[in-house]
Symmetry: C2
Subunit: 364 residues, 2 copies
DNA sequence: TTGAAAGCGCTACCAA
DNA sequence: TTGGTAGCGCTTTCAA
């Protein structure tokens, strides 16, 4: 069964159709086989003795057309034998859309909480037949980044943090993204928003410390700029909780080193603070250690509250009070993405997705 | 300047060329503009008053052809104005290869060390004009996973862990991957190998503990199956270090919970162990806490050594001895990937990339 | 210096 | 039930 090439005035010498019924010809000279070209659906069709259309129908389980079982089997067998792998780019080119859900990799290393969430989401989206990829940040500005994502023509984009601008949304939408969502502190014009209200984390800690009778409250803020996204709202939340009370809030910048912590602890008594909410459990551990080494008692002299509820908090002595944070289940979110992809064009949806619960242990 | 459509016997009504010189027409009826189609290079050409070829030349900085500066400017301006974003799939379809470097997302959450490495690698590859993407595992078998990766036709694939089989390598190579590398404990036939010899971590700990006079050495192995990749070689390394000596090695399975650690600690005295190498610093912290709570002194009664050199190790009392692990610099590795892409076909390269150094502190 | 056109692999429309 | 084939957006060869 010979496939007749399209009539055309000039055949490119390097791209003529393969001779039918056999492996691709060896290169003419002594060069070792550079890489045997990937089999295409035409190769499968040839081997199965059917047309490319039939191959497509069979392999995509097309319902609009009935194919005999024997043909089905032959096509599948041929595909398996050749190790046929469809070309996602060609498919998306033809279809006008892809099944790709793109997530920019977060700019700062995230904790186990986020990773669990991410894993769940990926699994759930995978079950819905989406391909999930994390795209490495390009390092340039946010608009360049959005452009880079758009080159892959994802059907949905979920951006953690603040790395998306309204222009970025527009670029992505025009590039065929049916759903653009952010997972972060702010809404972005045109995008759906999953708001992670980190203020609530700080509010939770502030309320707790106030209820415990603390009035001069320090808030540890890490120096790393990438963490501002989380740390500043948490700080603001503490302020909100204590607004209108007789308590005061003091900002305590802290680099993640023992020396910095020791220095901060050395100035503690003169600062007069009786409580501290650390950015997270690791910073809390760092500071608590330094405070104890400086002779202060926790919680008698200083109450300490962390955040994220890491395992290490339970291993400290005293056990660390912390704010447990909950993200939405990945499965739920996958369902949302899928719905938005299937019914685009609605108004941007906004929802709060971050839960904050204080876990009181021994340090406060 | 009207672009003449290709002569063809039948025009698809839904896919005719756009009327020249203007934005895409609004949809006929009252439906809100669903999504304005992404501008193509043809749109750019039309707006700039040049051919698509010229657009391609300009935007790709083609050196083989000379384009006047004024044309260059016009094309760039038109592209900017339309918000043109090239279609990566179409490009890779035409070119026969992509600039995509694909990394499967590791199956288990990795620590800060890996994240730093990953970030470096992504930055460095980005500088070399590659697009780096982490592909979410599909959950099915390793061969299905390789197939899923191959659909994207990456030019290089770097697989951490053990999720690649020789068949997977073949699938990827045939799909156009010029470089397939593994980053893990084992070689895989046909792939380049960056060997992470976790035995060395265990050897380092074992040698150290023996030199400190310890003879009955426990090795903590986490229950989580995904961590076997690391934990079993580390255990084997301890055995290697103590082979032929009068020291004994005892395997201590430990789930990452306080209860499990307390139980293990309760049986400690009867076990007669005088040292323990924990899977990593977190497990070391967990166990050390439990041992101390059970009344044992560290290091007098039990020496404890962790691994990964996390910050928390320095915050414990006694300060935790640990094995510091070093991965290759991302920049170096990016250079390797680039070289392999440019000069494919060489023999698979194998190199050890994991450095292990014992950091002796107070716990051993 | 620029333009015309072929064709990469795929899907879906239409005809048989 | 199956086959022919146009065309998605892009690059590149050849011709002008």
């Amino acid at each position: 069964m010979v496939e007749i090439p399209n009539p055309s005035p000039s055949q490119l010498p390097s791209a003529g159709p393969r001779p039918p019924g056999g492996p691709p010809p060896a290169p003419p000279a002594a060069t070792p086989p550079p890489t045997p070209a990937a089999p295409t659906s035409a190769d499968v069709a040839r081997l199965a003795g059917v047309s490319r259309a039939t191959v497509s129908y069979v392999l995509n389980d097309a319902t609009s057309v009935r194919i005999s079982d024997s043909t089905r089997r032959r096509v599948r067998e041929a595909a398996r034998e050749l190790g046929y792998v469809p070309h996602a780019g060609a498919r998306s080119l033809r279809a006008g859309h892809s099944r790709l859900v793109l997530m920019p990799a977060p700019p700062v290393p995230m904790g186990p909480l986020y990773h669990r969430f991410l894993g769940e989401l990926q699994t759930a989206l995978g079950r819905l037949e989406y391909t999930v990829v994390q795209h490495a940040a390009t390092g340039a500005g946010v608009d360049e980044a959005a452009r880079a994502w758009a080159e892959l023509r994802p059907v949905a984009v979920l951006v953690p943090g603040t790395g998306l601008s309204p222009r970025g949304v527009a670029v992505l939408r025009r590039a065929g993204a049916r759903a653009v969502l952010t997972l972060g502190p702010d809404r972005v014009e045109g995008a759906h928003a999953l708001l992670t209200d980190h203020d609530a984390v700080g509010r939770s800690a502030g309320t707790h410390l106030y209820a415990r009778g603390r009035r001069r409250i320090g808030v540890v803020v890490p120096g790393e700029p990438g963490l501002d996204v989380f740390s500043l709202p948490r700080l603001a939340g503490v302020r909100q909780a204590l607004d209108g009370t007789d308590a005061s809030v003091t900002v305590l910048p802290l680099a993640p080193t023992e020396d910095a912590a020791a220095e901060l602890a050395a100035r503690w008594t003169e600062s007069g603070l009786d409580a501290v909410f650390a950015y997270n459990d690791e910073y809390a551990m760092l500071l608590m250690r330094a405070l104890q080494d400086a002779g202060l008692r926790v919680p008698e002299d200083v109450a300490v509250v962390g955040a994220d509820d890491l395992m290490l908090g339970r291993l400290l002595r005293p056990r660390l009070s912390t704010v447990r944070i909950e993200l939405p289940s990945g499965r739920e979110l996958a369902g949302l993405v899928d719905r938005l992809v299937r019914e685009p064009g609605g108004e941007p949806e906004v929802r709060d997705v971050l839960g904050a619960t204080l876990v009181a242990r021994e340090s406060s």
